[in-house]
């Protein structure tokens, strides 16, 4: 037996770039949440100062979709998240892994419109 849950891929609409995700207040400060945006898994973070970041949810080191469940913080002045699997640290700004700069997660534009968080994955 192989159980596979199929991804629900929303067909892309070239004109519509920003995808509404959730109310801003639903995001817990300094904690992540995952969103499914046009078939892609995106990790959203609300930093302590209110800034928002969106990066790929897939941890490139383990292959598991868990970045949104990592602990956030800073390294120097850089806002970062550590993957919960083996604790490699990624910049939330550039997506680059600070422990192995050859590895990175994608970053996505994120904004708040009328209290709603929106992400663009184009």
């Amino acid at each position: 037996m192989t159980t596979v849950q199929k991804a629900q891929v929303t067909p892309g609409n070239a004109g519509e770039k920003w995808v509404p995700i959730c109310p801003y207040d639903d995001l817990i400060p300094e904690r992540g949440a995952a969103a499914l945006v046009r078939g892609r898994q995106v990790a959203l973070f609300r930093a302590f100062d209110g800034r928002l970041f969106a990066v790929g949810n897939r941890d490139p080191f383990s292959g598991a979709y868990v970045i949104s469940r990592g602990i956030t913080g800073t390294r120097g002045d850089e806002p970062v998240v550590a993957t919960p699997m083996h604790k490699q640290v990624f910049s939330l700004v550039t997506g680059v892994c600070l422990d192995d700069p050859a590895t990175a997660v994608p970053t996505y534009p994120i904004r708040v419109t009328n209290g709603t968080v929106e992400v663009s994955v184009e």
């Binding site: 037996m1 192989t2 159980t3 596979v4 849950q5 199929k6 991804a7 629900q8 509404p20 995700i21 959730c22 639903d26 995001l27 817990i28 400060p29 300094e30 904690r31 949440a33 995952a34 969103a35 499914l36 945006v37 898994q41 959203l44 930093a47 302590f48 897939r58 490139p60 080191f61 383990s62 292959g63 598991a64 979709y65 868990v66 469940r69 990592g70 602990i71 956030t72 913080g73 800073t74 390294r75 120097g76 002045d77 806002p79 970062v80 550590a82 919960p84 699997m85 604790k87 640290v89 192995d100 050859a102 590895t103």
Partner: protein
């Protein structure tokens, strides 16, 4: 430039890594005979002591960055020097501009009758074969009593075989230690139950037995040869390149063979008339060759042959030259310690030394070889054992501190200063020192100290305080949030290191739910989801089963829950049941069913009390003298939910037969006719340690008071991720007894009150979560699609249960 590397062992790996690090932009193709990429052969034995079937992943080196093509499981069969092409056994041709031979060496198999029945000890496949054969055998013989032979003998012993070691020389490790050291070593080895035969060789091997040259017959289901290695120079030989009389591809100090397009590095190379059988020089050769290919002029000028054996529970080390005009010897035959230093005739220069039974001077003295003595020779014998005779500050800058990776004191100091390194982990990462055999780590600690860094104190860049200091700050100033602590006593916004530390301190001092308010953001994913993350991003659920006692009704509920949610089910090593493969949105539903049936969280995810394991005790067992199960349940219920610097495990055995393995736990009870003996500071895990007896014949009440204080004192003063074993060793058993039995610090009333607060404030985190809609909102795979499960999670079936289908790991 096209570089082709024949062989994929440590030397080849270092070569490729160095080329990539230094920006080499041609193509590299590595052709390896083994079915896997390069791994840490030095740590090979840990593969045997580890669990079977791991495929040796723990030994694998990180994949080199940059474009490297690798072809595995295919031996290079020949070199065509005219066409500059190598051909593999499978018939694959690979053209090169530069060819590097990194083919290592092969174990020497003495030509005795029956040798075909013996095993060798070189690759993961060799070890698999030994493990397999050992399963059907009761006894084993290792031929060769050198460093590797003893390592192999210990491995056979670990596989449960009664083991003999046969050494042709007059004593064990004849190449590293002198006769006196050999005698002390033999005492240690024999005390471990190994039988040693020296001064005799092998006559023949027969079915299930070995006959020695002196006529001794030994039963042996498994025979392992560890009688030296021979360089694998056959490719070079056939291609007409010069090889040494006793083997080895002849190279110059730039690691180049007689053919300018061909290099040889590692154990297959003969450089300066020597073949080097240690990984350190092999790494250096690889770095020299890489430098040459990039146009540099590095030279290999010989290497240190110091060695430290870290097995059999016995430290054996030798460094520098093993003879000299003068020597000082310290010998304690009862304690099994032998140390000898060789000194120049003017008594001013250290030439070398041998340590058996206590190698603490090794890492501190080895870098001082060839230098003027800094203290009386007799004091140096005790370097590192608390005497101040040698400290990191005494190393000259050019002293080689890590011989495996050829790192000098100067480079380490510079890295500490320039990069602001604060701990051994940082030094390892930035300089590579300490990353192979680990024997230089004490010297790294000492250098850090001499550079003004008290190692291991500050958990990370955000605080300058140790965990114990942070604990006191939080307690005395009544701090309840991370924001305030980091704002007033730290810098930045924390990280995955300090946040969980502070979360644990806040939990110990203030109680409350770990997901309450700001504290939620401090928790590791396990605490945040009150479950253990697994490799595919699902979680496992472990309900508490105090003392391992469970009713049939409750067992049925666990079975039903596992069946209904399709979870993989396994009995743990801690006397309870683990349910694996739950997605985040399933967790609250699973807990609801379990909580309704009377279960609660087992805190398998927390740095907290785990289990109090129990034997069946006097209620059923004909030998039991106390009610072990009743006591285990009482203790587990008392300390459940107690957050701590690391996890806490306990056990209770009903008599001295010790069926609950209490002495391997953080605290363990063994019943006596008169009450309980309390043991503390035991550990399984990475560094097993038997617990020490803290107090005997305690009544139930005395026992609970002692454990209360032991745990509270640990929680307040231990370092982050320091198990009680290391903590007890750090502070000393006598001191601990003074504090918690004799109240020498006058803090016992405070410790008692702290524990009462914990016991009174306990509640089940799972139930509290299931009953709180606000907390439940986090348990979704996607904020914008709460009903959608994570599509990346896929299972297949094995032995009638699910197992994760893993995601492909592609980093770029």
């Amino acid at each position: 430039m096209r570089i082709v590397v024949a062989g994929y062992g440590p030397a080849a790996h270092r070569l490729v890594e160095t080329l990539a690090d230094r920006g080499f932009d041609g193509t590299i193709t590595v052709l390896g005979e083994e079915p896997r990429a390069a791994y840490d052969r030095v740590a090979l034995t840990s593969y045997l002591s580890g669990p079977p079937g791991t495929g040796g992943e723990a030994l694998a080196y990180p994949a080199p960055s940059g474009p490297v093509a690798v072809r595995l499981g295919d031996r290079v069969a020949s070199i065509d020097r005219a066409r500059r092409t190598v051909t593999t056994e499978a018939g694959h041709d690979e053209p090169y501009d530069v060819l590097v031979l990194a083919t290592g060496s092969a174990p020497f198999v003495p030509p005795v009758p029956g040798a075909g029945r013996a095993f060798v000890y070189r690759t993961i496949e060799d070890l698999d074969a030994i493990r397999e054969a050992s399963a059907h055998a009761t006894s084993g013989v290792v031929v060769g009593g050198g460093l590797l032979g003893l390592e192999a003998a210990d491995a056979l012993r670990g596989l449960g075989l009664s083991t003999h070691v046969v050494e042709m020389g007059g004593w064990l490790m004849p190449r590293q230690v002198d006769e006196g050291g050999g005698a002390v070593l033999r005492g240690h080895v024999e005390r471990l139950g190994l039988v040693v035969h020296t001064g005799t060789g092998l006559d023949r091997i027969e079915d299930d037995r070995v006959i020695l040259a002196d006529g001794t017959v030994i039963d042996a289901g498994v025979v392992v040869f560890s009688a030296g290695v021979r360089p694998r120079d056959e490719l070079a030989r056939r291609a007409g390149l010069p090889v040494g009389e006793r083997g080895g591809v002849v190279v110059d100090e730039g690691m180049r063979t007689a053919d300018p397009a061909i290099y040889a590095v590692g154990e297959c190379a003969l450089v300066g008339g020597m073949v080097y059988g240690l990984v350190g020089p092999c790494f250096t050769m690889a770095e020299v060759a890489a430098d040459r290919m990039l146009g540099g002029s590095a030279q290999f000028t010989g290497a240190d042959l110091s060695a430290k054996l870290k097995l059999l529970g016995v430290d054996v080390a030798s460094f520098g030259q093993l003879s000299g005009a003068l020597d000082v010897t310290y010998m304690d035959p009862v304690g099994g310690v032998y140390k000898k230093l060789f000194i120049s005739d003017d008594a001013r220069t250290l030439l070398g030394g041998i340590c058996v039974g206590d190698a603490t001077p090794y890492s501190l003295l080895r870098p001082l070889v060839g230098r003027e003595l800094t203290a009386q020779p007799s004091e140096l014998l005790f370097a590192g054992t608390g005497s101040a005779a040698v400290a990191g500050a005494d190393f000259p800058d050019d002293a080689q501190v890590c011989s495996c990776n050829n790192v000098t004191k100067g480079r380490i100091s510079a890295a500490i200063a320039e990069l602001g390194l604060t701990d051994v982990a940082g030094v390892k990462k930035c300089t590579r020192a300490g990353t192979s055999c680990g024997s230089c780590v004490p010297a790294l600690v000492s250098i850090l100290a001499s550079e003004g860094v008290a190692p291991g104190k500050a958990p990370c860049e955000h605080f300058d305080h140790s965990r114990a200091e942070l604990f006191d700050i939080v307690r005395v100033r009544g701090i309840t949030t991370f924001s305030r602590l980091v704002g007033e006593h730290g810098r930045g916004r924390g990280c995955d290191v300090c946040k969980p530390v502070v979360a644990s301190i806040l939990a110990s001092l203030n109680g409350g739910h770990v997901l309450e308010g700001e504290r939620a953001a401090l928790q590791d994913t396990n605490d945040h989801f009150l479950a253990n993350i697994q490799k595919n991003g699902t979680y496992s659920v472990v309900p508490r089963i105090p003392g391992g006692e469970i009713t049939p009704e409750k067992l049925i509920v666990i079975g039903e829950v596992a069946r209904d949610f399709g979870l993989y089910t396994k009995i743990t090593g801690g006397q309870r049941i683990d349910l694996f493969g739950a997605r985040v949105e399933e967790l609250p539903k699973i807990w609801k069913r379990l909580v309704d049936a009377g279960f609660e969280s087992g805190h398998a995810y927390g740095k907290a009390l785990r289990t109090v394991k129990s034997c069946v005790g006097s209620t059923w067992c004909r030998y039991g003298v106390q009610d072990a199960v009743g006591m285990a349940i009482a203790l587990e219920l008392r300390y459940r939910g107690l957050r701590s610097p690391h996890k806490i495990k306990a056990a209770v055995s009903g008599c001295a037969r010790e069926c609950a393995e209490a002495r391997s736990k953080d605290f363990g009870l063994i019943a006596t006719e008169n009450g309980w003996n309390l043991y503390v500071g035991g550990n399984g895990g990475f560094r097993p340690r038997h617990a020490d007896l803290l107090a005997s014949d305690l009544s139930d009440d005395e026992l609970i008071r002692a454990v209360d204080r032991f745990l509270m004192f640990y929680i307040r003063t231990a370092d982050r991720l320091q198990r009680t074993a290391a903590w007890v060793q750090d502070i000393g058993l006598d001191y601990l007894r003074d504090v918690i039995v004799g109240d020498s610090l006058g803090i016992c009333a405070d410790l008692d009150a702290g524990m009462e607060r914990h016991v009174g404030g306990y509640f089940d985190e799972w139930r509290a979560t299931v009953e709180d809609p606000e907390k439940l909102r986090r348990f979704v795979s996607f904020v914008n699609a709460p009903g959608t499960p994570d599509p990346s999670i896929v299972f297949e079936t094995e032995r009638d249960q699910i197992k994760p289908v893993l995601m492909e790991v592609t980093r770029r």
